[in-house]
């Protein structure tokens, strides 16, 4: 089941890892994405630490780690084809993280996220 952050990330639990991307709403707000910088695999990150740089035709923004943990994989394909974030944001994952705590109950569910973006 998908969870969402208030920063417009989607989180998908797969085994003991969480896959992270951004929502369709976020990708629409950003506009055409032209550059993505991903974190290094193996990096230990804090919750809220900005670990992805995403540049659209309009502006630069950051994506924060939703939880503390270790980055286990990144979607290298996005580096060469950042537009995938606009084409299919739910498929264009950014990174996988193995969280220090597996509890995602504090995040928004689908209904909560829809209420957030109105």
């Amino acid at each position: 089941m998908l969870k969402y952050t208030e920063d417009h990330e989607w989180l998908k639990q797969e085994g003991d890892e969480i896959v992270v991307g951004i929502t369709a709403h976020a990708s629409e707000q950003l506009g055409d994405v032209v550059f993505i910088e991903l974190p290094e695999v193996g990096r230990e990150v804090e919750a809220g630490e900005e670990i992805v740089v995403i540049e659209s035709v309009k502006a630069a923004s950051d994506i924060a780690a939703p939880v503390a943990g270790v980055i286990t994989a990144v979607n290298e394909a996005l580096t060469d084809a950042p537009g995938a974030v606009n084409d299919d944001p739910m498929a264009a994952w950014f990174f996988r993280i193995r969280p220090a705590s597996a509890d995602l109950s504090g995040f928004l569910d689908e209904a909560g996220y829809q209420a957030l973006i109105g």
Binding site: G31, D32, V34, F35, E55, V57, K58, A60, T79, N86
Partner: protein
Amino acid sequence: MPMADLRRTTLYDLHLARGAKMVPFAGWEMPVQYPMGVLNEHLHTRAHAGLFDVSHMGQVILRGPAAAQALEALVPADILGLAQGRQRYGLFTNDRGGILDDLMIANKGDHLLLVVNAACAEQDIAHLRQLEAQGISVEPVTDRGLLALQGPQAQAVLERLVPGVAAMRFMDVAEFDWQGATLWLSRSGYSGEDGFEISVPGDRAVALAEALLAEPEVAPIGLGARDSLRLEAGLPLYGHDMDGSTPPGEVGLGWSIPKVRRAGGARAGGFPGADLILKGLAQGPARSRMGLRPEGRAPIREGVEIFDAAEGGAGLGKVCSGGFGPSVGGPIAMAILPAALRPGATVWAELRGRRVPVTIAPLPFHEPSYKR
């Protein structure tokens, strides 16, 4: 400024109906993009034709027997030598030898028609009013919209609606009738493409825009793509690449000041800041506007600092315009840097605490295709 205080062009409802995202710009509420998106709007304009609402720009008529001569006291261009039916680019300069605004000047026979930047329009009109003492009438045009139709198919599209326009050449101006409305046309624009700017009576602007958009080649284009198009074309934008402290030579606009207005010319000087500006042009600028191609895909934007070394070293200047060039297929930028730097030289941009190698590139990034 709250959105409620922003001015709206006559095409406001049309923008909303076409799904535009509206943003504040120079005191106006303007479309930054439509559902097509900035990238595709840019590419569409380069391949077909794009329709831009530029009604926020200031249109001003100068009337009076000696209007051209009078305007030369504010603008260091050859306006007396501007033939009827022709348009020319020029600058308002200030006493500090900087630039107050850039503008287009058209000779329409019994008057001059100026087009100035939206953000500067009020100040420019106040500045022009000093010519009233010489019997020149300064008439802001408030009852007209301004559209720009740009791209390789602009001529074919407009010729279908307004027969005869195909005969115009780059920087020609002419009046044409469209269904009873008098259009003031110029064959110019700010996209690096062939095209037209069309001044249309305000109450007919929506009808003309809809008629143009009904043509298969035409899509509405927002300010986002307008900016990336002009950046690729190496065209400077007032308030970003130049301001009141920028000498014309540094921003690469010395060409707009012809010999006749320079030292030794028949009408040398006689404009604000002439001594400083002419001296600067004679010496050659110490700094000049140049293109930048960052390594990799990360854009370097306005304000990013440029250095002469990968670590430490000296600051050379700041990016004045930068972003992603959709037709170039990568990040591009412009900066005013020491004039001795040549295309191919490497400098470094400080981006998020890291130095990124940047190659000095010739301007423009994308060769314009004007119909001369």
